[in-house]
Each structure stands twice: as C-alpha cells, then as structure tokens.
C-alpha cells in the first residue's frame, strides 16, 4: 500500500517538481506571522512561566533559582490538595454526565419528534449564557432561604434540606449542577449533528436484521460516531481544566476552602499574595494536566488518520 503511494511522488520529484519545503510557498509565507505568534506567544510564554516557576519571584519576576522549593510548598498546601480533589470530582462527574445527558437528549430529538427545533433551542439556550451569569442564577436557585429549599419548605415540607452551596462536603456538586446545565446543550447539538450524519441505510439494515433500537445505538451508532465523541471529549475536558468563573460566581471558593479550584489558587497567589513563583508552579501543574489530556487526543486523531 505505502509502496504504491510513494512511487508516483518519487517520479514527480525527479521530474523537477518543487520539494516539500517550497511547495505552496505563498501560503506558507502567509501563515508565517501566525506560526511566529504561536511560537513566541504560546510556546515562548509557556517556557518562560515554567522557568520562573523554579525561582523565588515575588511581586516582580527575578532570576533567583531555588530548585523545586515552590513545588514542594505547593503539594504541601492543603488548599492546593483540596483544589485538585475538587477538580477531579468535578472533572469525572462532569465528563460522564455531560456525555450521557448530551447523547441521550440528542438521541431523543433524533427520533423525529414534534417541535424538535423548539426543544433544541431550549436545551442549547444555557450555553448562550456566560459562566458568571450561570453561576449567579444557580447561586440564587440553590440559596437555602430563597431557592429550591425555601420553596419546598413553604409548601409545607418543613424538614426538607437542600443547600449544597453551604455544605462543605457536597459544595462541588452544587457547582457541578450548574456546569452540566450550561454545557450539556452544546454537546447535545454536536451529537445531534453526528447522528444526522449516520446513513439512513444503516438504520434500514439493522431493522432488516431485527436489531432493537437501543441495541442499534449501543453497538452500531456509537462506535460509528467515534470522531464526534472525541471532539466532545476535548471540549468538555478543556472546560473542566479552566473551571474558574463558575466557582467565583457561585461560592468564591467557600464555604472555607471547600470549593477551591486550581485556577483560583494560581490567581490568588500570583496577584493577591504577590508570590509569582508559587503561582507559576501551580499553573505549570495545570499545564501538565492539560498535556495529559492532549496526548490521548493527539494519539486518537493520529491513529484515526493512519487507518483511514
């Protein structure tokens, strides 16, 4: 297979066709500014941050290297440990629930129901709101005096208790509710587009073979939608890592430190505590977690291409 692919390219090269570097030269020149920006701004600043995370920089950066002292302090801080564990709980739950809810809603809409457009708009609407607005709305809904708990109690169920934002043990799930409410609409739309891309003949074939609808989804449709799932996975994962504004709007990290997330740690230590080194160390750890997510993604993408 690869032999067949290569031969014409080789003969073409021998005829004096431009080599790989000079092919499409004008488009490469046009892309140069963006490539430089990406290299200098993204890669350059990332490396700068990592280098300075090994210094004892305070309000202003300075080159006094102290080894891994900042990282030792970071992993010895109970606030950082709480932040990481919150992010893990939020991350796992949000990933699973958003995918499940998004796919289920999409599959239901795909059953050619009436008012599909209306439902789609309703489900997608929360995505049009910013995290700050989402956070404030859910802060009110979950407020024990004015929100759900207050309403149910006013109906006569006096012992009803639902105040996730004021209970340190479950506060992160109060934030999770808002996150899922906001994010699952978009996932639903992407899934719906994926479902619409499935050939009608597949459905006809499974019907001829007498496979049930549920089983068709699980064993035929979902495996066919792998690229769509990968896209959704990356979107959700990116949203999880950068979780910040939702927490600020809903609880600002409280009660106590129980709903802290890594991004808040980075901000507080860089600007409030005037300790850049500590903030850089924390943001480098965040970068590491992004890399851990990106590598499987690149692997999946690459694998998909080479097979196709």
């Amino acid at each position: 297979m690869s032999l067949v692919d290569h031969r014409p390219a080789k003969t073409g090269y021998a005829k004096g066709k431009p080599n790989r570097l000079t092919r499409n030269l004008s488009s490469k020149i046009a892309a140069l500014p963006m490539i430089l920006t990406a290299l200098v701004v993204f890669v350059g600043c990332t490396i700068w941050t990592i280098v300075y995370s090994f210094t004892d920089s305070r309000l202003l950066p300075r080159e006094n290297f102290v080894g891994i002292e900042q990282y030792e302090r970071l992993w010895g801080s109970s606030r950082w440990i709480t932040s990481i564990s919150n992010l893990m709980w939020y991350g796992v739950c949000s990933l699973v629930l958003t995918l499940v809810i998004g796919f289920t809603l999409a599959a239901l809409l795909d059953r050619k129901i009436r008012f599909e457009n209306t439902f789609r708009s309703i489900f997608l609407f929360p995505f049009a709101l910013s995290f700050i607005v989402t956070g404030l709305v859910w802060q009110w809904i979950l407020n024990p005096d004015y929100g759900v708990q207050g309403v149910v109690r006013s109906w006569g169920w006096e012992s009803f208790n639902f105040d996730p934002l004021y209970n340190p043990d479950i506060v992160i799930f109060g934030i999770l509710i808002a996150g899922i409410w906001q994010g699952s609409g978009l996932i639903m739309c992407i899934m719906l587009a994926g479902l619409r891309g499935i050939d009608e003949d597949i459905w006809k074939a499974t019907r001829v073979d007498g496979i049930g609808t549920l089983k068709t989804y699980l064993v035929v449709i979902i495996p066919m939608m792998r690229p769509v799932f990968v896209t959704c996975l990356v979107l959700i994962a990116a949203g999880i890592i950068k979780l910040y504004d939702l927490v600020v709007a809903q609880t600002s990290g409280g009660p106590g430190l129980s709903s802290q997330v890594p991004a808040m740690y980075v901000y507080d230590y860089m600007f409030k505590a005037q300790n850049l080194g500590q903030g850089f160390a924390a943001s480098t750890m965040m970068l590491l977690s992004v890399v851990i997510i990106l590598i499987p993604y690149i692997y999946l993408q690459f694998k998909g291409k080479s097979r196709g």
Binding site: R73, G256, F271
Partner: protein
C-alpha cells in the same frame, strides 16, 4: 434666546479655559460601603475646591480584589495618578522597582515628621530614608461591636468584655439571636483571629510571634489558649451565612446578631444607619480585655508619571490629604482616627474618643500588614477560612499556623 445662547457659550469657554489649567487626577480606592463612600467624598470635595478635578476610580470588593487590579495597572504601564493601599509591605517591591513617586520634599515642607502620630505610620511609608506615601487615617482591628437591641431581646446586660460576651451567648441563642456575626471571607476571619489573639495571649506573646516570627512561641501554651478561644468563637458564629463585612455589621445594627468582631471602620456603618453609641450599640476596643490597638491604616501612593504637570498636582494632592481640615472631615465620616496628633477631634463620638485616648496613652502596636508579607498573610487567611468553615481541631490549626510562621519571611 440669543442671550441664553451667548451665556452658554461664555460658560463653555470658561470651562474650557479652567480645564486647561486644572489637572484631572484619577484616584483609585476600594472605599465602597456607605460610610466609606461618604468619607471619600470629603477628599473629592476638598480637591475639587482647589480647582482641580478628582476622577473617582472606586473598585468594588475588598482590598483583596482591588489590590491586584491596582498593582497590575501600575506594572502594566497604565498608572493612575494616586491610589489607596494599606501601608506596609504590600508596596515594598513597587517602590524598589522605582514605580512610586518620591514625596520626601513634600513631607519636609509639611513637617510630617513632627505631626504624624504615631510615628510608625510614617516609618512604614519610608524606604531608605525617602518617603513614598501619605498616611491618611489610622485603623485598628481589635474592636467588638455589640447590639443593644439583641441584648434587650435576650434580657441580659450588655457585656463589658469578651469573656462576658462568651458567657452571655447561650442567652442570646435562646432568644433566637445569632451570638456572633461573621462574614465568610478569609480576611475577616483572620481579623477576628488577630483580635482574639491580642486579647487572650497579650501583647508580648503576639509580638514574639508576629514581629519576631518565633514559631516555638506559636506552638506554645499561650497560643493553644488562643486557638481554643477562636474555636469557641467559631461555634458562636455558626449559621452566619453573610459574605461582606458590612452585611455582618448590618446584622448587628438590626439586632439579628449580638456582636461582631470588626475594625473601627464598622463605626461608619452605624453612623449611616443613624445609631447612637451607648444607646443603640457599644464598642469595646481590645475586646475590653487588653486596651491596645494596632495602627494599620490606609495610605495614598502616587505612581511615577512622565507628565510634569501631573507630578506637580500629585504632590499638591499629597499635601492636601494630610492637611488639618481634610483630616478632620474625612476621619469623622469614616470613623477612623486621624494621623495627626495636633488637631481638634472634639466632634468625634464616644467610640472614636476611646480610640483617641488609647492612642494618646501609647497603647499601640504595629499592624500585621507591616510585619508580615502578603504571601504569609494569604497563607494565614487560607488557614483561617478553612478553620472557621469546617471542623478543624484547634491543635491542628495551631500546628499549621506555627508552620506558616516558621516559613515566613
């Protein structure tokens, strides 16, 4: 009609003319609660009266929110003309980097060395013999505010010190009153911790830990007693769900809560609500146990500016902020103490008179802001936020606190 038009034109021309000579200075600060806003207006009025313009840059939220914004604007090359900061170590590096205007000539002309009392205020504006900020007020954190209405409801006498307050708490709870109002923010919990420390452990122990950073003392029995007392206060504040300090003060004003541990700036909220000291509320400096006040406070810094006209105006404003009339009107509105020992504060109410008397007796200590870096303060605030919201044992909190002190710089 044409007459009106003509006068309008003349008016516009006049405004243009005066705008050319007057300088507009943007001043950033985080004074946004009722009493604070009333006080900052006094500055603005005094400055506008000189023919210049005060461009108010209030930043909502506490200092923790505002400081990063202010500092990043200075570092980012977009400095305001003047800004509030708490004097102390917060601005140390900004001064070292040469970003703040040297005010030494203004200070010498005004004889600040002789008039600023206590002199530690000016010392914390000084770096290498040069003065970089104008102290405008003295704030102390060690105050207990008590609601007379709440104690009437409970049917017990208003306590005279912290121990009596703790003893009266069950009666308050029985009457459905929350004993201690506490905003759920790290700095307020840290403030309460500091106030209880000075009241319970005394000045020498406090100084050994905070100024000398002696971690062994922080592990010792005096601080064990402090953490026990804070743990007891934590139980008294259970069920206090408010966030901002003025909301907590509001609970004391309404009689929903018995007391609040808050700095003397709470005074402004009581004045705005029209309450009278002695009949509606009481104040206990040093929690009634140890009549000592710290001398933190606010100061104005003037970031370096290329425009000589603005630099001249900055110096003019610096001199104005510390002038006697402005000091009196500003501090009366804010409920804080003036930085000058030579002015007449007869108009001040009972709480401020108590504070002035303590100040005159020399019952003062440097504020935590002056001894601890922002980094250490943030770590302690984090610890306090965790301690007050959860069930952390007093001994665990003490150990964690001692570790922070041991690594403090």
């Amino acid at each position: 009609m044409s007459k009106v038009l003509k006068s309008l034109l003349v008016g516009t021309a006049l405004t243009c003319a005066s705008a050319a000579s007057a300088v507009e200075l943007e001043v950033t600060h985080w004074w946004t609660s009722g009493g604070e806003a009333a006080a900052v207006t006094k500055f603005a009025e005094a400055w506008n009266a000189t023919g210049n313009t005060w461009l108010d840059g209030a930043i909502a939220g506490s200092g923790g929110t505002a400081r990063p914004i202010i500092i990043s604007r200075i570092l980012g090359g977009d400095p305001m003309a003047a800004t509030q900061l708490n004097h102390g170590r917060q601005s140390e590096e900004l001064i070292e980097a040469g970003l703040m205007l040297d005010l030494t000539d203004v200070a010498e002309a005004g004889g600040w060395k002789n008039i600023v009392n206590p002199s530690s205020l000016l010392d914390s504006c000084t770096l290498d013999g040069k003065i970089y900020c104008v102290p405008v007020n003295i704030h102390s954190a060690q105050w207990l505010w008590l609601s007379h209405a709440a104690y009437e409801k409970a049917g017990v006498a208003v306590p005279a010190d912290w121990n009596e307050f703790v003893a009266s708490a069950p009666a308050l709870e029985a009457a459905g009153v929350l004993p201690l109002a506490m905003g759920q923010q790290g700095w307020q919990q840290n403030l309460a911790f500091g106030a209880i420390t000075i009241a319970v452990a005394g000045l020498d122990t406090w100084r050994d830990v905070t100024v000398n950073k002696n971690a062994d003392t922080a592990r010792g029995p005096e601080y064990a007693a402090v953490f026990e007392a804070v743990a007891a206060a934590r139980e008294l504040a259970r069920g206090s769900n408010v966030q901002d300090w003025n909301q907590a003060t509001g609970m004391v004003i309404n009689g929903e809560a018995g007391a609040q541990l808050m700095g003397d700036w709470a005074q402004g909220e009581f004045s705005v609500a029209g309450q009278v000291e002695g009949t509606d509320y009481s104040c206990l400096p040093g929690l009634g146990l140890n009549e000592i006040l710290d001398t933190g406070g606010d100061a104005f810094y003037f970031p370096v500016n290329d425009d000589p006209e603005i630099t001249a105006a900055q110096k003019e404003l610096a001199a104005l902020l510390i002038s006697p009339e402005v000091q009196v009107s500003f501090n009366l509105a804010k409920g804080s103490l003036p930085v000058r020992g030579d002015i007449d504060m007869a108009a001040a109410n009972g709480c401020m008179q108590k504070g002035l008397a303590i100040l005159a007796d020399g019952g003062i200590l440097p504020s935590g802001d002056m001894s601890l870096s922002a980094d250490t303060q943030t770590q302690i605030e984090d610890l306090m936020a965790e301690f007050w919201a959860g069930d952390m044992a007093a001994s665990d909190a003490q150990a964690a606190y001692a570790d922070i002190i041991a690594s403090a710089d």
